[in-house]
Symmetry: C2
Subunit: 479 residues, 2 copies
């Protein structure tokens, strides 16, 4: 590191360094608390003697801009802050996104303090995650160094992890995958992006569920696709209403997001037949089906598919933690090269050490153990939540039956007139975090509530629902 | 985890489990070496007694499909491999990329064994990286847990790292950045992708350097842009030849990739004036300017720019390691929200623990120390390489003067008739890894060679060049 100062090699070099540093202080490149390079290092960088640099530092120290701290180095003093100039020159705001870029960042869950009644949707319980084991595995991988080479790596991901995933989806989800069918991604979202990049031309029609998962809809739209919402009923996606020309159908058959419905076997077969007739592709997003409570799962679309039309997307964001940023696609060989190229063009490849650590985690049976343990905890919360909903809110909302995952949806009962979006906003002010169903609708708002139970403390469920019930009743009585 | 077997609740349940497991073995979902779930766990999952599962396991063990290993569990035997059926059914290759998707994955450097004479381009020396310190910092961050919450994080990256980067570019590169101007990316490539997503509509013209950095050109093309190559001469990008309608100019002014030229100050000013007149944006990719050997750097475009037209892209892939997968953009406030949204749509956000560890690494002055140390090692290799090129190959090629970075280019001298692409391929067979200049040309091939010295062992440089010299002379004499 060096100061980008230009020091004329003739004349008083110490004065030139002094002026350069002063200029850096004035325009905010050097700020209070910053440490300056050691005199020896700066002298080497600038090709001057150490004394010359020391002279400049001494002068600025005498003037109160810098201070030496014994054993720590030379620092910019707080007095050096220049209130008028410290922010630097402001440049005009000339660069703009393209005209049809209408996307704003969504609020992130980590921006909130943890709410008292935490029904936030889509996040697992970090308390259940075996951090000590994970740290042991990561440390071991970082010790190997083999996973941190100086070179660029295979875009489809760590070989050992792809092998572990191929086995895992095989026996946990009866999804048949060869190791080369697996592409490791930074979570499901990147998997959707890679498929979109590779398959969608501008104007192509993509069918998504309505209500559905907003980040998928927005992503496909941002890639130039025409996104059409297709209603979901008690059997899942309504195949009869799929747009005729859809090139891609994005669906969550195991546990519809956000309603929680499992797509019926008849619908699954109908969707596969539909895609086969039209030459369409299907993305099956199986984001949280590992947590099941009451019945055997239906076969994934991927297993039922005989025609190679299904791309299966999985993630460790729900089974483990979103902060791992690891998901995967199981894609047909005919897309393999294109998806690897898309990953390379997007971001070269992912970090290898966590992928190697996760491979070990799976190979040692620790993922299976974690899922069993977490499932038990979530089953308790699911049960408490469903029971509580019936008892406390049963006359206002009708829970959608669901047997898996980390959240439960409830539609407003007929005749009820509550602005659920407003009510949820109000609940947030009282320490109750949950989602309103209209937030998942691109078309006409469907009134209802979505409760996550991944992060909620079991003991707080009853109390949270009681408070929410009172709040909703107040909202309902106001005309 | 569970076996996706469907067990009829009536009838002989042990027999049903036996058949389901056998079917999983036959179609390759269970493979030799796989561990079966513990009987207790599978019994719980299936809602049967543990004895029922044990009966099924016992039968398969007796038949040679499974074996119990004391203290470890029940495993699929190697004899259980079914050569005819184990690969599972093959589905037809019906899914295809969009018609204009023409991209294939590039060969990755890690796919090679380390060559004996390692002049590979664009990779730093992993031997110089302080792995022990890095592991200590990572372990500390993983212990905190705060960086691995159950929730989703800010898409622009870890706050502490953005602060450290804002300071770093301020005093190492005189790039003025507020913390909110910094967006952490998975390396430079993702930074380019985010800018492209946000700014480019299909058909927009993007100007790139010719020869230039292929992943940038291919990325912008894959986003639907019309990419135009602009020649590079001894002063850098030839501004007079920029396409009139370019919306975006991608350039490497500090150390042109791959030629190594620094853009002259006159050209820098001309480029800024050009962009300001046309309303174009500039991406300044400053990928390896930290390693400088002989002269003071020119001011970055970002610092010279008064009109807010420059997006600055930096990376830790060269200063530290590509496997960290951490780079950054410094972007004007007018693009901030769009870039954050694009990052969220791409892959939500990056992993936080390595970002937090890197922030500490920078705050403790360890990055500065590492760069000083690495610069010394690279300066030695640069010197040996430049001298060796003059001595061994001076009559065949003309090295392009360069004062920074991790590679040196050399053009074939006038009158020389060597197919450098073929010669480089042949050199690879003799353990000499380097690049041919035509690989960086999208238009007419410019014959020449590109030598990386990030990974090369200093002692092997002379010998490698001697062997290459002999090989090129053989290639030159063959008509």
């Amino acid at each position: 590191m060096d100061l980008a100062v230009s020091v004329d090699t003739r004349g008083d070099r110490a004065a030139a360094i002094y002026r350069a540093l002063l200029s850096a202080l004035r325009d905010g490149r050097l700020r209070p608390g910053d440490r300056l390079p050691p005199t020896r290092a700066l002298a080497g960088d600038l090709g001057v003697s150490r004394n010359t640099v020391a002279t400049a530092y001494d002068r600025l120290t005498a003037e109160g801009y810098l201070e030496g701290r014994v054993g720590a180095g030379t620092f910019v003093t707080s007095a050096a802050a220049s209130p008028t100039a410290a922010r630097g020159r402001r440049k005009p705001a000339t660069l703009r996104p393209r005209a049809d870029w209408t996307y704003s960042p969504a609020r992130t869950s980590s921006a909130d303090e943890r709410p008292r009644y935490d029904f936030r949707v889509g996040i697992p319980d970090a308390e259940l995650f075996p951090f000590d084991t994970w740290r042991r595995l990561m440390t071991a991988e970082l010790r190997l160094r083999a996973n941190s080479p100086g070179s660029y790596a295979e875009p489809s991901g760590h070989l050992g992890l792809r092998e572990a995933i191929a086995r895992y989806v095989g026996y946990s989800r009866s999804v048949h995958a060869e190791v080369d069918d697996v592409i490791v991604t930074n979570g499901t979202q990147q998997g959707l992006d890679l498929v979109g990049r590779v398959m969608l031309a501008p104007g192509d029609v993509v069918a998504v569920e309505e209500p559905g998962y907003p980040p998928a809809r927005l992503l496909f739209a941002s890639l130039g696709a025409r996104v059409v919402g297709v209603p979901v009923d008690a059997e899942g996606l309504d195949i009869a209403q799929l747009p005729e020309r859809a090139r891609l159908v994005y669906t969550t058959p195991s546990h519809q997001f956000p309603l929680g419905i499992a797509m019926s076997l008849a619908r699954r077969r109908a969707l596969l037949a539909w895609a086969s007739e039209r030459g369409a592709a299907i993305i099956e997003d199986d984001y949280d089906s590992e947590f099941r409570f009451t019945e055997r799962p239906l076969e994934p679309l991927h297993s039922l598919d005989q025609t190679g039309r299904v791309i299966y997307a999985g993630t460790f964001s729900k089974t483990l933690l979103p902060s791992l940023r690891i998901g995967y696609l199981v894609a047909p060989p005919s897309l393999r090269s294109a998806l690897r190229a898309a990953r390379q063009l997007s971001d070269s490849h992912g970090p290898m050490a966590p992928q190697a650590a996760l491979a070990r985690f799976m190979d040692e049976g620790l993922l299976a153990r974690h899922i069993r343990r977490a499932s038990k905890a979530y089953a308790v919360r699911h049960e408490l939540l469903v029971r509580g909903l019936a008892e406390r809110l049963g006359d206002l909302v009708e829970p959608v039956p669901s047997a898996a995952g980390l959240h439960v949806a409830a539609r407003l009962r007929d005749g009820m007139d509550i602005d659920t979006t407003g009510a949820v906003r109000q609940a947030g002010g009282e320490g109750i975090a949950l989602d309103a169903l209209p937030g998942y609708c691109a078309g006409a708002a469907q009134e209802g509530l979505v409760f996550g139970y991944g992060a909620v403390v079991a003991d707080s469920i009853g109390e949270g629902l009681a408070r929410l019930s009172a709040l909703l009743r107040r909202a309902a009585t106001k005309p």
